[in-house]
Amino acid sequence: MSTLLTVKDLRVQFPTRTGVVDAVRGVSFTLGRERLGIVGESGSGKSQTGRAIMGLTPPHAKITAETLNFDGIDLLKVSAAERRSLRGNRIAMILQDPKYSLNPVMSIGRQIVETLRTHERVSRSEARKRALDMLAAVQIRDPERVYDLHPHEVSGGMGQRAMIAMMLITGPELLIADEPTSALDVTVQLDVLAILDNLVRDRGMGLIFISHDLRLVSSFCDRVIVMYAGHIVEEIAARDLHNAKHSYTQGLLNCMPKIGADTHPLPILDRKPEWAA
């Protein structure tokens, strides 16, 4: 399998008044045309890892890496303009917070159309048609109505799917999906995953799938990286996730409620200082 992305010893630091926050502390992995899951608790550095690859780290933060290479391009050396163009055309990220990432004063349909038209020269009517098709593909009921709605007029899951539609319409080669289905009901969730799955299989897209839903990750991804306190504590084949070795991964699995299992209260994670080491 050809390597699309190489990340070696990635570090992201935020200087703050009370000292430096080490958000990402030496993360290394490679990605081919496959589905790579990243799991781990809140604050473990999943989003900041994705943002660093995407070039969306806040400017005051410090990024270092031995290698950060996308398809032969050194991402740490390219100009800001090149980075922007990569971001528009070849690498896309579905951000964790759809309501923050969508423009509140522009209709959903227009946002998708504008994204498409900055990448491709298409007529207005063609762009509209493709936006509507994309909304239908992510299982939006009545795309014509939703096209004209503003972000505050759609439900949580509809906003999330609008964001997905916007990112997929440009056909990226690398997609970083940060909690893309957390607000979706389980059947729509699987429909969206099927779309992503097709893009990986048929178009050879590389997918980084960030999620806290371990059940979903283990059934959908090929490999999984488990992060804790800014670093990788375990990498494992997704289908073997239930046999994870690391006590942190096991702890995460144990605290999920299961249908029919009546455990009250739920087990909680007993965090060990050595996990952060």
Partner: protein
């Protein structure tokens, strides 16, 4: 209407229309005091709208809502919000990022004219497992799970008897979710609260609720007990689809090209 007197919440043939779009099409349900009732269903089916309608935040055009035996009118009184509080779906948007935790908790107390403010804030923080050291943090300095705890503390600080919970844990990782769910269960027990709770995670709903309603397209699909759902004793195809989908992704058997 004598029956509804003993119920915490009765919703009868509720209709909500946005412009010309019917978001709720005659939905009915009732919740007993101290009960935890779940709402699951399709994204966009009207679950948040139902909670918002109870809280007086959605344009109802028909039907009725009765809370603790009192039929609600168009607007909500101050007294209503002492009985009913809501925790919103979006933990990032529901708390003002540039306000301290202290300000966020103080506001409802001030609005309702409480005087023992200091005591109540400290108790609320303690109750949701946030120490007093969090009191003067800004909400943008909190993690997702901590923010959700603040949102719950804010909802609880007026000591309501009914809590409307819209996806209280969907943005949280498994470990924080477990902590928040345990917290909610404990508070419900200690304070004899009534919950109306939305979640798309069937495991969360069966864990937290006694009965639930499955919704699709603004209407009820079926109503059943959590035990029946867990035992897969369901009558509607849509509910069965939800159960199947809850098992995770199944890759179709297509040979690679």
């Amino acid at each position: 209407m004598t029956i509804s007197l003993s119920k915490a919440l009765v919703i009868d043939k509720l209709e909500v229309v946005f412009d010309r779009f019917r978001a709720l099409r005659g939905v009915s349900l009732d919740v007993m005091p101290g009960e935890s009732f779940g709402l699951v269903g399709e994204s966009g089916s009207g679950k948040s709208t139902l909670l918002r309608a109870v809280a007086g935040l959605a344009p109802t055009t028909g039907g009725s809502i009765t809370v603790n035996g009192k039929l609600l009118g168009k607007s909500r009184t101050k007294a209503f919000y002492r009985e009913v509080q809501m925790v919103f779906q979006d933990p990032y948007g529901s708390l003002h990022p540039r306000q301290t935790v202290d300000r966020l908790l103080l506001e409802p107390l001030a609005v309702h004219g409480f005087t023992d403010i200091e005591k109540r804030i400290l108790r609320a923080l303690d109750e949701v497992g946030l120490g007093a050291s969090f009191r003067f943090r800004y909400s943008h300095q909190l993690s997702g799970g901590q923010r959700q705890r603040v949102a719950i503390a804010r909802a609880l600080i007026l000591e309501p008897s009914i809590l409307l919970l819209d996806e209280p844990t969907s943005a949280l990782d498994a470990s924080v979710q477990a902590e928040v769910l345990n917290l909610l269960e404990q508070i419900r027990r200690d304070r004899k609260l009534t919950f109306l709770m939305v979640s798309h995670d069937l495991a969360v709903v069966t864990h937290m609720c006694d009965r639930l309603m499955v919704m699709q397209n603004g209407a009820e699909v079926e109503r059943l007990s959590a035990a029946d759902l867990a035992a897969r004793k369901v009558t509607q195809a849509y509910t069965r689809n939800l159960l199947v989908a809850s098992d995770g992704f199944v890759r179709p058997d297509i040979p690679a090209v």
